[in-house]
């Protein structure tokens, strides 16, 4: 049982070691791809076991829970690990062609696998301090990936990314200290039981807000998002795709976990803050994107804007809203990573990501144009793609709660999203290339082309499947939301039945 829980963490670590040893040759790439494939298999196995038996928990080193370190997978953890594995595999394949050999020799693939291990660990842990450790694993790997290559932009973006993330980490740790002082435990399930019995509930709320700020920086919500658009457009395309897909979503996951399981004592206060944060995040992100003129910078601001939708689902805290947030989370990871991958191909064949300096992709590379349209329309929420259902569920949840204003903001932001997607479409795809270049996919040799196009196509197909057959995904998200809002089985699985 505990193997099933630890394999999605151990496999990427093993892959990291092997690809570091083979970093001077092509073996490193393949180790990374095979490792990601193996992780996907283990994630599927974990998922089927969670679907079968409900919450799966294991104690590392066989120390009983609340003393030992718990790994636990409920439906949310399992689906996040699964989607991490899917994105990881797609990006690992893409990185084979995208990452330059000199950066590979620095150990790119090894760091990438460490990053994936950190993300999976953060999703699977059932202990707050352990969550901090996984955040650090993820953070140090992402620092390395971000500045690899050492261009001026990367160093500049890296400084801001590192500084703001370290502040968030320290806040997180202080919050852990204060929470431990009040409850004497750091096990999440145990915290869920003990936090309501704390006498000084005002102090609990203060600590809750500390966690909100700490995870808010990681999730890039308003007004804590400034590191993201400063850094995400600078590294290799494979790197920014995996960052865009996964890293901020770990922050969102941590927020969802803490504010459905532990900090539910003063919902009218904490979730009210989250609601406003969500609205401002959606609006500032989308306005920031409208002002940009670079493929990746536009996409970076859109991450911020989309995070707002997920926080909105959490803030409303109804079963339908949480369902919507989970659906959005999964849909967004696939779509966002894919758009960054498309930006990489556009850069490879048209020569830049600055919209003013590229063009003509529709006329000469129509396949890429179609592959861009699928995630772009999905992001903007066109039916019948996945983004439509995600937005539909959230807006309906807002209307059911009587939060008409919030629903209006969410709809208006969707409209602006279309605006900046059409901006990319018009400048990069429709208008002719300013230098008269005719960008063609066939200009890439076959060894580069397939690793670049295959992951994009696979993720686009996934987006279409979720969009065309949303029913099983919605049913799944409903079960997940139900587990989050009724945490008794989670607590029982971790602490044993005697608890």
């Amino acid at each position: 049982m505990s193997w099933l829980l630890s394999l999605p963490i151990l496999i990427p670590f093993a892959a990291a070691v092997i690809s570091f040893l083979l970093k001077d040759g092509p073996g490193g790439r393949w180790a990374s791809v095979i490792g990601s494939g193996a992780m996907l298999v283990s994630a599927i196995a974990l998922m089927s076991s969670v679907l079968d038996q409900g919450v799966v928990a294991g104690q590392m080193g066989n120390w009983p829970a609340s003393f030992g370190i718990t790994l636990v997978a409920d439906l949310l953890s399992a689906v996040m690990v699964l989607i991490t594995a899917i994105t990881g595999l797609a990006v690992a394949v893409y990185a084979m062609a995208d990452v330059k050999p000199d950066i590979e020799r620095l150990g790119y693939h090894a760091l990438f696998q460490v990053l994936i291990a950190g993300v999976a660990g953060a999703f699977l842990t059932g202990d707050l301090f352990n969550l901090y450790v996984w955040f650090e694993v993820m953070l140090i790997a992402s620092f390395g990936l971000l500045v690899m290559g050492g261009s001026k932009e990367q160093i500049d973006g890296g400084v801001k990314y590192v500084a703001l993330n370290l502040i968030s980490t320290i806040l997180f740790m202080t919050g852990i200290g204060l929470l431990y002082a009040m409850t004497g435990t750091l096990n999440l399930a145990d915290l869920a039981r003990t936090v309501p019995t704390v006498e000084n509930q005002g102090m609990v709320t203060v600590v809750a807000v500390m966690f909100m700020v700490a995870f808010g920086v990681k999730a890039a919500v308003f007004p804590l998002f400034f590191w993201l658009p400063a850094a995400y457009h600078t590294p290799a395309f494979a790197t920014s795709a995996v960052f865009a897909g996964l890293l901020t979503k770990v922050g969102v996951y941590a927020l969802i976990r803490m504010f459905t399981l532990v900090f539910v004592g003063d919902i009218s206060f904490t979730h009210e803050i989250l609601l406003w944060v969500a609205c401002f995040t959606m609006v500032t992100g989308v306005l920031g994107a409208a002002a940009q003129n670079d493929f990746r910078k536009i996409l970076s601001f859109h991450i911020v804007s989309q995070i707002g939708y997920m926080i909105l689902g959490l803030a409303l805290m109804t079963p339908l809203a949480i369902l919507g947030a989970i659906f959005y989370l999964v849909h967004h990871i696939i779509v966002k990573a894919n758009l960054f991958l498309v930006a990489g191909v556009a850069n490879a064949i048209a020569g830049s990501t600055e919209l003013k300096r590229i063009g003509g992709l529709y006329a000469t590379a129509p396949i890429l144009a179609v592959l861009f349209l699928v995630p772009a329309f999905s992001l903007a929420g066109f039916p019948p793609l996945s983004g439509f259902w995600a937005k539909f569920l959230l807006i309906r949840a807002a209307l059911e709660e009587g939060a008409g204003f919030v629903a209006f903001v969410a709809l208006a932001v969707g409209l602006f999203t279309i605006f900046s997607m059409t901006k990319i479409w018009a400048e990069a795809f429709w208008t002719p290339h300013p230098d008269g270049v005719e960008p063609r996919l066939s200009s890439l040799d076959r060894k580069t082309l397939w690793p670049l196009i295959l992951p994009i196509a696979a993720l686009a197909v996934l987006t279409c499947i979720i969009g065309l057959f949303p029913e099983p995904f919605v049913v799944f998200a409903e079960r997940t939301a139900d587990q989050l809002l009724n945490p008794a089985p989670y607590i029982a699985a971790v602490l044993g039945d005697g608890a």
Binding site: I140, D156, K160, I167, M173
Partner: protein, 118 residues
């Protein structure tokens, strides 16, 4: 003792925030070290302080007979120190690299990734 260390944490945080508000990246970095030590100390105090009672369990018993020092926060702080040290080493190298590549440590001059005209 708890009070003394709490006051110390407060002083460290105050000094750290002052340093971190500076535009100079190196001063920011020094502030970061101070505040991370403040966080470590607050975890340490959170476990309550006990003097002269090491957490040792006599042979043949499952738990200590008397009240002993709480070992868990110390283990946590130790982990945090090690991680913090690694991160700090990385950040220091990054700062050095930034100074070499960008020619400045003034954060308001660092506008390459986000040019002014946008």
């Amino acid at each position: 003792m708890e009070v003394v260390i709490s006051v110390l944490v407060g002083a460290l945080v105050a000094a750290a925030v002052y340093l971190m508000l500076s535009r100079d990246l190196l001063r920011f970095l020094l502030g970061l070290i101070l505040i991370s030590n403040a966080a470590n100390l607050s975890i340490f105090v959170a476990g309550r302080l006990t003097t002269g009672a090491p957490p040792l369990i006599a042979e043949g018993q499952d738990f200590p007979a008397d009240q002993v020092a709480n070992a868990l926060p110390q283990a946590l702080v130790l982990t945090a120190i090690v991680i913090g040290f690694g991160l700090f080493a990385f950040t220091l190298v990054l700062t050095l690299k930034a100074y070499k590549r960008l020619g400045t440590l003034d954060t308001s001059e660092m506008r390459i990734a986000e040019p002014r005209d946008e």
